[in-house]
């Protein structure tokens, strides 16, 4: 967690604050002072102090902090991490790859928040009795970010790419999480509420909401087609894998399209593609759906933006 905050006593002034000026009154004084000015002055000072000590968290650290809290909470309550060593290995591999590739590609030391989220996602979502898939999946995820680029943008969500690649290429060694956190209602509700709040703060709740609403609608469609109960069809989204998928994968700022309409349309398309994969009985439907839809949406946007830029100069200058 990154913050400059220190505990503030409600009575004591923080260090460095000028001593408060004794209140001046109109009574018994030769100097005549306007009370509104005094009040405004006091208010301004209080705001200045507040501003100086405001609890600040850089937006980019909110997601890592959130996912860490989920992980710690779930592990402390249910010991959900099959192997903390494997999760640590995934995180360290992702961060090491980011450090090296970021330096090589940009000449600067990269921010590690994104690599941390990728590593922790791999650590939680990949299931394997071996150690090597955790390292390999993290390395593939981060490397994909630097290699698979179009117009200086990476078009796949890194952990989605890594996990989908491992599930496709190494099915004998890798499965994905679908059952952690005890399948009980309490942690699920807490994570949904907390996650929704944080995602709302990050102005991306519409993506999650669209996906969830679409999933529920497509679950209804599958119920009609397959004649399973509606509860059966919505069962997956009640599990923890989807919480990570919804809050951390489909909302990734770097690999989602920029316009709000585009984001909503993409989330809908991911749910629709997932429904197709589910009808094909693919166990890893959400990963494969995002793997297919995510880059297509990005490519459309890149193409669209380039076209607009191209046609830009011919437009008459705005007055």
């Amino acid at each position: 967690m990154s913050t400059d905050a220190q505990p503030i006593s409600p009575t004591a002034a923080p260090p460095g604050t000028p001593p408060p000026t004794p209140p001046r009154t109109t009574e018994g004084s030769a100097e005549c002072v306007n009370p509104e000015v005094v009040e405004a002055e006091v208010h301004a000072r209080v705001e200045a102090v507040k501003e100086r000590w405001r609890f600040r968290i850089n937006q980019q650290y909110i997601a890592p902090i959130f996912i860490t809290c989920i992980l710690l909470g779930a592990h402390i309550s249910e010991r959900v991490l099959e192997s903390p060593e494997k999760t640590a290995l995934a995180i360290l591999s992702a961060m090491a790859a980011e450090l090296v590739l970021g330096r090589l590609f940009t000449g600067k030391w990269p921010q590690m928040a994104s690599a941390y989220i990728t590593g922790i996602s791999v650590g939680i979502l990949v299931r394997s009795p071996y150690y090597w898939p955790y390292i390999l999946c993290s390395l593939i995820s981060i490397t994909s970010k630097y290699v698979l680029r179009v117009k200086a943008r990476h078009i796949w969500n890194p952990s989605n790419f890594g996990i989908a690649a491992m599930l496709f290429l190494a099915p004998a060694a890798v499965a994905s999480l679908s059952i952690q956190f005890g399948n009980s209602i309490r942690p699920m509700v807490i994570i949904w509420i907390l996650g929704s709040f944080i995602i709302w703060r990050l102005k991306r709740l519409h993506i999650c909401a669209t996906y969830v609403a679409s999933f529920l609608a497509f679950a209804g469609l599958r119920t009609l087609i397959l004649h399973d109960t509606y509860w059966t069809e919505i069962a997956p989204i009640t599990g923890p894998m989807y919480q990570l998928f919804i809050f951390f994968m489909i909302t990734d700022p770097k690999t989602t399209v920029k316009s709000k309409t585009g984001q909503v349309a993409t989330a809908f398309c991911v749910a629709a593609m997932e429904c197709v994969f589910r009808l094909m009985q693919s166990v890893h439907a959400p990963y494969f759906a995002l793997f297919v839809v995510g880059p297509i949406a990005n490519l459309i946007e890149i193409y669209w933006t380039a076209r607009k830029r191209k046609s830009g100069p011919s437009e008459p200058p705005r007055s």
């Binding site: 005890g182 399973d228 997956p236 009640t238 599990g239």
Partner: protein, 597 residues
């Protein structure tokens, strides 16, 4: 220019990473290669043993039948009515030849007691002996059987655990069995899939552990509702309760479960007991479906403490279905084999081989899972497994049976299973929400595993030594059925035949066997530990009152010794605590050992 080089380098590395993922996961796992061309002679030379299916030749014709539970479960009947094929070995008439008991699980279906006729043939005498018709409608159906001489009269008695009313039969000197359930103090109904005879307090009388799977409040033929399934695929605690019955003599057992602290509502599928901490008292290991395994440390017969997480074996939740102990490294300590599920791309749990860490003992005992390193991790939808020296080379090998539901070869239930397994407890715990399985397979048609121990790892030689069947295996038991100094194999299959495999072993390898009889200890000598020292090494085995999945090996202990062994000594530690050292014992012989007064 420089950035172009960096990009090209990264692209090559990226392609290499993808290729690595594809290649590493496809590297061949341990197996013995192709079947040798030279027939059984070549097989013997290469692997030291060969198996021949002699079921029909031996006069055994038994096909297991599954139960038909409440109609509310019809849509997933193969999924829930999926256990009950069990086999156990007993010499019920003390003629010196191991017999076979096999359970059936249909309502009204009959169990078989195959009497060994000494000439390679077996005769079913269950009806005559009164232990055939034990699944009458309304009493539940059989899940397994264990044998132990609870009244120390010299004859092995029969305990049957069921999804229903547990049953105790007294062995009337090998001439018949008398049902003594009513006066025994056993509960009216337990949906159990595991039981173990052991003398937990070392008072010389066999006590009984019974592990519930479904809650004992459920009558699977008359459901009040369909909320009977596990509340979680990995953290379920809504299974059946556990029971520890203390044998107080006179054929009576007292429920001391709460008194000794053996509470658990996990979904037990297998259990076994042995002295794992060097205290002289048997500890209890339980493999649970839908959760972690449990290690109940026995505090001098007074209390049990669950220390699974501390020992390492109770950390990762899987689908435990087997507990077997084996001194795989000839170091005088037991490794624990717990089987789980592995289905490529869907559920890669891997089986566990828990090997005690060097230098840890007592309450500090710690286990590491070396299943991958030792080559015994991948066993499909694994069920029963047993350790035994199949080729008499002096190292314990491992026999595993597997396969869950074999139906259509073209369609499987994995997608629907994964869908509901990931759901919230309210959804997964209600059978009504489980999609219909229809005629689909679920982890079916699986190749069994016969892993030979090469010293540093195990190699699967099943197809090469003649084990090629793909029935849905549940239970495996090992015994020297022909008294030749060779471990033969019996396997029970769900809705499939009981198979008997006669083992042929290279005659170059020596062996020694022991039949133990307690006096101060329980007469079955369950819990007696035998250490054989030869050629500067030792191997530990313990007489067991049930191990594997719903099975029990022969009570006699079999040690392979390899070529030209120099036998140093044999040390027996009886359950009473007495220790006996024997020297000058002849090789290639069965030795009858009686506990000294």
């Amino acid at each position: 220019m420089q950035s172009g080089i960096v990009r090209a380098g990264a692209t090559i590395i990226f392609a290499g990473l993808l290729a690595t993922a594809a290649i590493v996961s496809r590297l061949p796992k341990s197996n013995g290669g192709a079947a040798p061309a030279g027939g059984s002679g070549e097989t013997l030379k290469r692997y030291g043993f060969a198996l021949e299916d002699v079921t029909r030749k031996a006069g055994i014709e038994f096909v297991h039948q599954a139960p038909t539970l409440d109609p509310a479960l019809n849509h997933i009947m193969p999924e829930v009515a999926s256990m009950g094929a069990a086999v156990s070995v007993v010499d019920f008439d003390r003629d010196g030849w191991p017999d076979l008991y096999v359970t059936n699980s249909s309502e009204g279906g009959k169990n078989r007691l195959y009497h060994n006729l000494h000439n390679g043939n077996f005769e079913d005498v269950a009806e005559k002996m009164g232990v055939a018709d034990v699944s009458q409608p309304g009493t539940g159906v059989c899940m397994g059987a264990i044998w132990g001489d609870y009244d120390n009269d010299g004859y092995e008695d029969l305990f049957l655990y069921k999804w229903g009313r547990p049953e105790l039969f007294h062995n009337d000197r090998g001439r018949g069995f008398t049902r003594v359930t009513e006066q025994s103090g056993l509960p009216k109904w337990v949906n159990a899939n595991s039981a173990v005879w052991f003398d937990y307090d070392r008072d010389g009388r066999l006590d009984l552990f019974l592990g519930g799977y479904y809650s004992e409040a459920i009558d699977l033929w008359h459901l009040k509702n369909t909320r009977i399934m596990p509340e979680s695929f990995e953290y379920a605690r809504n299974g059946g309760r556990k029971y520890l019955f203390r044998n107080v003599g006179g054929g009576h057992f007292v429920d001391v479960t709460d008194q000794v602290g053996l509470q658990s509502r996990r979904w037990a599928l297998a259990a076994a007991a042995a002295d794992l901490r060097g205290t002289g008292y048997p500890d209890l290991v339980i493999a649970n479906d839908y959760g972690v395994s449990e290690f109940f440390a026995n505090d001098h017969g007074r209390r049990f403490r669950e220390i699974g997480a501390a020992t390492g074996i109770g950390y990762q939740p899987k689908s435990g279905m087997n507990v077997a102990f084996g001194d795989i490294n000839n170091q005088g300590r037991f490794a624990i084999y717990v089987s789980n599920i592995t289905e490529q791309g869907v559920l890669v749990q891997g089986n566990n081989l828990w090997v005690p860490r060097e230098g840890t003992t007592g309450d500090q005992v710690h286990y590491d899972n070396l299943a991958d390193a030792m080559g015994v991790e991948q066993g499909g939808w694994s069920f029963g497994a047993q350790f035994g020296d199949l080729n008499n080379d002096g190292r314990l090998d491992l026999m595993l049976t597997n396969g869950y539901v074999s139906a259509s070869r073209d369609e499987n239930y994995w997608y629907d299973f994964a869908k509901v397994a990931g759901g919230n407890s309210a959804i997964i715990s209600d059978a009504a929400n489980w999609p219909p399985i229809g005629n689909r397979s679920h982890g079916g048609y699986q190749q069994k595993c016969a892993w030979i121990n090469t010293g540093d790892r195990f190699i699967n030689v099943a197809p090469m030594v003649g084990l090629t069947e793909t029935y849905d295996g549940r239970s495996v038991a090992l015994a020297d059925f022909w008294n030749r100094g060779v471990l033969d194999v019996a396997m029970a299959h769900q809705k499939g035949p009981l198979l008997l495999f006669r083992n042929s072993v290279s005659p170059d390898n020596a062996w020694i066997e022991f039949e133990l009889e307690g006096s101060a200890s329980n007469r079955s000598a369950i819990g007696a530990a035998v250490r054989v020292f030869w050629n500067g090494q030792q191997q530990l085995q313990e007489v067991s009152g049930g191990s594997g999945f719903c099975s029990e090996n022969d009570r006699r202990l079999h040690f392979g010794l390899g070529k030209d062994p120099r036998l140093e000594k044999v040390v027996v530690r009886w359950p009473s605590g007495k220790e006996q050292t024997l020297t000058g014992l002849g090789l290639r012989k069965l030795h009858h050992l009686k506990e000294p007064a």
